[in-house]
């Protein structure tokens, strides 16, 4: 009545189909759970990034406030006192003409230097005039030292970034230039600001002693990179011993471009 071979085949087929269906269901569960896991992982990562950004933001705000305080102190207090000393020296100029002329000149230079430092530290220059004039001012300052031949090149049509982004970008450039002054032993510094339709590039090239980026452990570069990341950009450094350094910062314009310069 029942063919045993047929029945055995039937058992095998039923077993295989059931096993495959149930296994597929478990695979599907694992797949969906993996998706949940990835979403959870991404959420954790974005929380970590947001936390990091908040910390950096706080750090930048504290630094800016310190700069403002020092700048105000130099301008209002030290600068005023030096100006007063200069006036007093002018009033006694008749008796020791030559010596006093030299002293008055030195104090005058000191006052100018302090004003420049105050201006550099203050965020007013960048907030009032924008990124390009602020960089031009920095170039002037470097040229005044007579230690470097500094050139500045502007390509494309300059656009204003949102205030905070411009300030952060400017502080990165300042830090890079300070590194050139302190560590590079360079004689030539080239700054290029290139505005493209979608992004802007800031490149700082020097002919100094260079360094091996992989062997560098300091916080400076990490700081610059973290700040660049904060304004949706990135910062890259190419350098090798005795062959100078090239630092490039690329920042997208789409998000923050507000008005044409």
């Amino acid at each position: 009545m029942y063919n045993p071979t047929q029945l055995i085949f039937l058992f095998i087929i039923i077993f295989t189909v059931l096993f495959l269906l149930l296994s597929l269901f478990i695979v599907f569960i694992i797949y969906r759970y993996k998706q949940k896991q990835n979403a959870h992982h991404q959420a954790l990562q974005s929380i970590a990034v947001a936390h990091e950004n908040a910390l950096l933001q706080a750090q930048i705000e504290v630094q800016e406030q310190t700069f403002i305080n020092i700048s105000r102190e130099i301008h209002d207090n030290v600068g005023q006192k030096l100006a007063l000393v200069k006036l007093q020296l002018i009033s006694v100029q008749n008796t020791h003409q030559v010596e006093l002329d030299e002293t008055i000149n030195t104090i005058g230079n000191a006052i100018t230097d302090l004003r420049d430092i105050s201006r550099t530290m203050s965020a007013d220059i960048i907030l009032a005039n924008g990124f390009v004039p602020a960089i031009e001012f920095e170039v002037q300052q470097l040229n005044k030292t007579a230690l470097f031949i500094t050139s500045f090149e502007l390509k494309g049509e300059a656009v204003f970034l949102e205030g905070k982004r411009e300030l952060i970008l400017f502080r990165i450039v300042q830090e890079a230039l300070q590194n050139v002054v302190k560590h590079a032993n360079a004689t030539i510094v080239k700054i290029l600001v290139d505005f493209n339709p979608e992004s802007m590039l800031v490149s700082i090239t020097d002919n100094g002693q260079g360094f091996t980026p992989n062997a560098y452990n300091g916080q400076g570069i990490k700081n610059m990179q973290a700040r660049a990341k904060m304004i949706d950009g990135f910062c890259e450094i190419w350098s090798s011993e005795q062959e100078g350094t090239v630092l490039k910062i690329i920042v997208p314009l789409q998000v923050a471009a507000e008005t044409e310069h």
Binding site: P4, L7, I8, F11, F15, S23, K36
Partner: protein, 216 residues
């Protein structure tokens, strides 16, 4: 012969499970719900030997065989259901559902002794199948994220899901085969197929216990 081989493999799996679950119970990370898991293979081994003896010598009376199978079924059902109940979040409605199912199962088991049907076995498997499916549902509602391939409880529930899912339809087919009075050797061959689901389930249980012992 196939039936004997399958039963021996299952007994071997139970022996391995017993030793691994003893080791797992000593681990600090062992979940409380599977702390006494080593009791499960003990009952499994006893039942496995009874089944082989019954096949070889027809030495056990059919009443005794049914009683042993019934008791082991009740034990396994309660044991695995308790694990699943705890793993599905010990929700009050699950507790009532569990009590309700146990009462129905006892009722079915009692009538089974008289009727010799497969209802209770299929019912127990169906309840375990539902519980394990609920565990998967819970998995997505839980905020904790675990590595599924190394999570002993997921492997345990996947084993129950696969094993019971295969066993349910086979139990009814077996009942039908008895009804149409197929040859006994064919019935045992079918029994071997039916036991494959059980075998797969126990492979998963073993893997689950190994996961606990390997976890630091």
């Amino acid at each position: 012969m196939v039936y004997i081989i399958v039963q021996l493999i299952i007994i071997l799996l139970f022996v391995c499970q017993f030793f691994v679950s003893i080791r797992a119970a000593k681990k600090k990370n062992c979940p409380r719900s599977v702390k006494y898991f080593y009791l499960y293979p003990i009952v499994g081994i006893i039942v496995g030997f009874f089944l082989i003896l019954n096949f070889l010598f027809h030495a056990i009376s059919s009443e005794l065989r049914i009683n042993i199978l019934t008791l082991s079924l009740l034990f396994h059902f309660n044991f695995l259901s308790t694990i699943l109940y705890k793993e599905t979040g010990s929700k009050p409605f699950l507790k009532y559902l569990f009590i309700f199912f146990t009462i129905i199962l006892i009722r079915l088991v009692i009538s089974n002794i008289i009727l010799k049907g497969a209802n209770s076995y299929a019912f127990a498997n169906a309840v375990l199948f539902i519980f394990s499916a609920f565990y998967f549902y819970q998995l997505f509602n839980n905020s904790n994220i675990v590595n599924l391939s190394k999570d002993p409880l997921f492997i345990l529930c996947a084993g129950i899901f696969l094993g019971t899912g295969i066993t349910i339809p086979f139990t009814y087919i077996q009942d039908y085969l008895i009804l149409i009075k197929v040859q006994e050797n064919l019935l045992f061959l079918f029994g071997a197929f039916s036991s494959l689901g059980y075998l797969i389930m126990n492979i998963f249980f073993l893997k689950s216990m190994i996961c606990i012992t390997r976890h630091n």
